[in-house]
């Protein structure tokens, strides 16, 4: 079997006596969508932050395509093929949608030591950006400032910025958060279109989305991994029921 795109080995993080990440080990295979579910406060966002490099774990290893990235800065990890969609949309607000995606493409495909030529005249970057925007359905909004986009459009824009970089792994922190039914359908459609093409680690509360997208689920409770399996298996898993429905689960 080929090497997993992401391998987390025995990751631990404590804030004093509080175990936010408790010996977590999991992996994400090529083209797999691996969803992490769990009640609030289970440590899901903290886990993503450690994978992205924004937080330092106390012990354990994080491997991207077999290479240890535990000591690398967030920027270095991004250069190795890690892309991240934040829990609250993080865009360059005054830039247009096209400029945002073009900047993302610039990070991977162009030198930024260009001081004279207008970035908007760079045909390669603009084409890549337009293609990515079309994939997420934002082609018509290319010239709109990111600050003026609707919530769902902002989410899609973030996904486009990640896609244009052709990442190895996409980290999504609650992509459906704050999205209405229409927006959720649209975002799910976009992610389904990428299924099998890019490996994804997805945190999500919306169960319908999780079951529609995920190849595998992992349940995080109190910082520790309580169960892992395919959606079909997890649907009937007593731990999952207990985590979401409490001890009164039938």
């Amino acid at each position: 079997m080929s090497e997993p795109v992401l391998a987390i080995r025995d990751l631990c993080k404590n804030y004093g006596a509080l175990r936010v990440t408790d010996h977590v080990s999991l992996d994400v295979h090529e083209g797999e969508i691996h969803a992490i579910i769990g009640p609030n406060g289970a440590g899901k966002t903290t886990l993503i932050a450690q994978i992205a490099g924004a937080l330092h774990p106390d012990s354990g290893a994080i491997l991207l395509s077999g290479k240890d990235i535990s000591r690398l800065s967030p920027a270095a990890r991004a250069q190795r093929g890690l892309a991240r969609v934040f829990q609250i949309s993080s865009l360059i607000a005054p830039f247009t949608a096209l400029e945002n995606v073009a900047l993302a493409a610039q990070a991977r495909f162009a030198s930024s030591l260009s001081f004279w030529r207008a970035a908007s005249a760079d045909r390669d970057l603009v084409t890549r950006a337009q293609t990515a925007l079309a994939t997420v359905g934002l082609a018509a909004r290319a010239q709109t400032r990111a600050a003026s986009l609707s919530h769902g459009e902002a989410r899609s824009l973030e996904i486009a910025m990640c896609l244009v970089q052709q990442p190895r792994l996409l980290l999504l922190d609650e992509p459906m958060a704050g999205a209405g039914p229409e927006e959720t359908r649209e975002l799910t459609r976009v992610l389904l279109g990428l299924k099998g093409k890019i490996a994804m680690l997805l945190i999500e509360h919306d169960m319908a989305t999780v079951f529609a997208l995920a190849d595998r689920l992992s349940l995080l409770v109190g910082g520790a991994l309580a169960a892992t399996g395919t959606p079909a298996m997890m649907r009937h898993d007593p731990e999952v029921r207990k985590a979401y429905l409490g001890d009164f689960a039938p």
């Binding site: 924004a54 920027a75 360059i92 990070a107 930024s112 260009s114 001081f115 004279w116 030529r117 207008a118």
Partner: protein
Amino acid sequence: MLLHRLTDFARREPTTALLAPVFIIALFAGQVLGVSAPATLLARAAIFAIAALSLSFILGQGGMVSLGHAAPMGLGAYVTLSLSMLGFKDLLGVMACAFIVGALFSALTGLIALRTRGVYFIMITLAFAQMAYYAMSSLSVFGGTDGIALPLRSTLFGWPLLRSDSATALLALGLLAALFWGLSRVTRSRFGMALRASHLNEARFTALGFEPLPYRLMAYSFAGGISALAGVLLANLTDYIAPSFLDWHRSGELIVMVVLGGVARPFGAILGAFALIYLESLLGGLTQYWNLALGLILLAIVLARGRFERTARIAP
């Protein structure tokens, strides 16, 4: 109707509204009021506008609030002095040396200062500038705290271009225009987009794979070099170089110029520099308490702009 339009304009663009009459008064009634000669004043304004524009670039685009930007400017003046003392006065050569010294000073201090943000950055830039100030004050060969006269004014290919203040003014205006055009191109370039993004959303910037420090350092060093060029012209204008060129008051004045004209737009720094220089001169000719008057006027402008921006945000 016209009055309404004028007050509206004054509220939207307080600095311009104030500058226009001040400029006209200084131009025509200047001699009567004891204001400096028009050419000298214009040259001075243009020279400070060059330094202010370079500060506005790193402040507005990169979010780097430097309270030490007078240091490279003063160092540029001291380079002019040193070379002049050695008998070297070719303008292009002097400018090249000054640019290198200014950029190097900013690069080395930036390596330390740019690892900090916010108030800490402001304080560190201030500290480095003060170090440079005291260093120059302690050098007796340069006249210590009193300063010293410039032995030889710079020449352009042997031609004593800078002997007249009008020519200096024209040269400064030319350099200012070239800088403005150049910076507007840099802002739209790939480097400029990256620099702006590093300031607008650092988390997203790093998540995309960019490291912020190299961009900030490059911009900061470049701005230092430009400020030094302004220093060369200032040395030629005043014919006298003193450590006060690097003083933190000067750095503060540069910040005031940038803020006065409006941080958001690149032209703002030029506007602010002209406004401050002309106001200082005019008020200085009118009253002994010109500092007080200047302070009150600055306060009025900032408050007017604040009120306008608040209402502009509420109105759709």
